[in-house]
Amino acid sequence: MNDVYVIGVGMTRFAKHADRDVVSLGTEAVRAAIKDANLDPRRIEAAYCGHVFQGMAAGQRVLAQVGLAGIPLANVENACSSGATAIREAYLAIRAQECEVVLAFGMEHLTSKFKGALTPDEDDPEAAVGLTMPGVYAMRARRYMEEYGTTREQLALIPVKNRAHAALNPLAQFQDRIAVKQVLESRPIADPLRLLDCSPISDGAAAVIVTSDAAARRLGGGRAIRLAASSLRTGSVEPEPTSMSFEPLTHATARDAYERAGIAPEEVGFAEVHDCFSIAEALRVEGLGLFGRGEYLLAVERGDASLGGRMPVNPSGGLLGKGHPLGATGVAQVVELVRQLRGEGAERQIENATVGLAHCRGGKAAGVDGAACTVQILTR
């Protein structure tokens, strides 16, 4: 089987793009990735487009803009893991030796679809009694805080850190730092979570060019980054209720990715994880085995998870700082990993970065511990 590499990355700024549509955003990201790879677009053999709410054949509308007619394209919907799942499909096509050069992109124009928080599908029995997405994470936050004695102030350190990282990222939705006090005084959404504990509604797109090792040697210009694993799991129906302060789904997906990459959690140098809410970042990194259970907020307090710390988490600003245009999110995480591993992280550059991990997890289905989860490991 082929080893898999990423030779080109591109993304739009994540923001509320009131004057643009999803095709314009997707087109910008795809053209940027092709240009970054210095690639003749005719070499692209197949494409996968991740999105959630952009309607029928949204990916094809972008291909028509960039002169890529005729190649196979599949639109991929997998909740917040849609973009990461599109990359995984590209990875599988190359592993199977069906293709040598594949485009994977993700995009979402959410501001034209939603005004407030996203909610689960209304036919879901949990939505019928009043569940909201912030409510899901608020209940997990309360349980985590009760079990580990975490304070509300400690939880606020996560959005404070990620907004500080975002302030160094010109493509992030938020460009300003915030203080703990602002988090604690922001509007209550689902107790104990407040507005600044929640990722924003965002528009944006991101794209990557994925190739075989042979094509990477030929076309990569010496900058190719290895995609060592791209793993996907769906949540299980548990015959017994499980802990809400730990994520078996994230843990199982990560274990699969570590095995495939031949990498131990201790070797990971930095991570982009799905911080859709402040508490989510703690649940992710502990499920991934990057920090001990119940220990993450103490590590954040010490600065371990900040740029310059032992294990920077969400150097791009994460969903809380960079923004969360659903389908684009998982692809943008890989864009950040590639830039860091190439040494193109600019003000956010992590020294001696050699192994990075990206994690997405999304969706809600009653009685299931999360819908779709992806873990990708990239190495220099």
Binding site: D123, V129, T132, M139, R143, P188, A190, D191, S236, P241
Partner: protein
């Protein structure tokens, strides 16, 4: 006592209500390994037995965790307490908790309550369920229900 006859049925088919207005939540039970599921499942996730039995679930449980929802979809009157309730069968049920926010506690005992719960698309009142502090547990009942009625 509220009677069910004036009410449209609750949309998700997880609640059985008698004409007298009493009732219970509906789950499934695996006849092979005894696992219970809520919401109902077609196949046992532990042993893959098919044709699970439809059963009524216990009407008493304990609060595993909760939140106070301050922003919700139209049709829900905010704020309301929402929580996961662990039942003795080993299932965890999400429900609104009929308790004042400051009295909600992880681990508190709760009882199922069949009561008016919102309206259907034509504006007919529906019956639904909440959990309320178990009788004799000392916690008060709230002044206001949390769905537009």
């Amino acid at each position: 006592m509220t009677t069910a006859t004036n009410y449209a049925s609750f949309k998700p088919a997880v609640l059985h209500v008698t004409p007298e207005g009493t009732g219970h939540l509906i789950g499934t039970r695996c006849p092979t390994c005894g696992a219970h599921f809520f919401p109902p499942r077609a196949v046992c996730s532990r042993c893959l037995t098919e044709d699970l039995q439809t059963v009524g679930l216990s009407d008493a449980g304990t609060l595993y965790t909760f939140t106070v929802i301050h922003q919700s979809t139209p049709g829900f009157q905010i704020p309301y307490v929402l929580g996961y309730v662990d039942l003795p069968e080993g299932v965890r049920v999400l429900a609104q908790i009929g308790v004042a926010a400051e009295q909600a506690r992880i681990g508190m005992p709760l009882d199922l309550s069949i009561e008016p719960f919102g309206e259907d698309k034509d504006g007919n009142p529906m019956l639904g369920y909440r959990f309320r502090p178990a009788r004799g547990s000392g916690a008060g009942t709230p002044a206001a229900a949390s769905v537009k009625e």
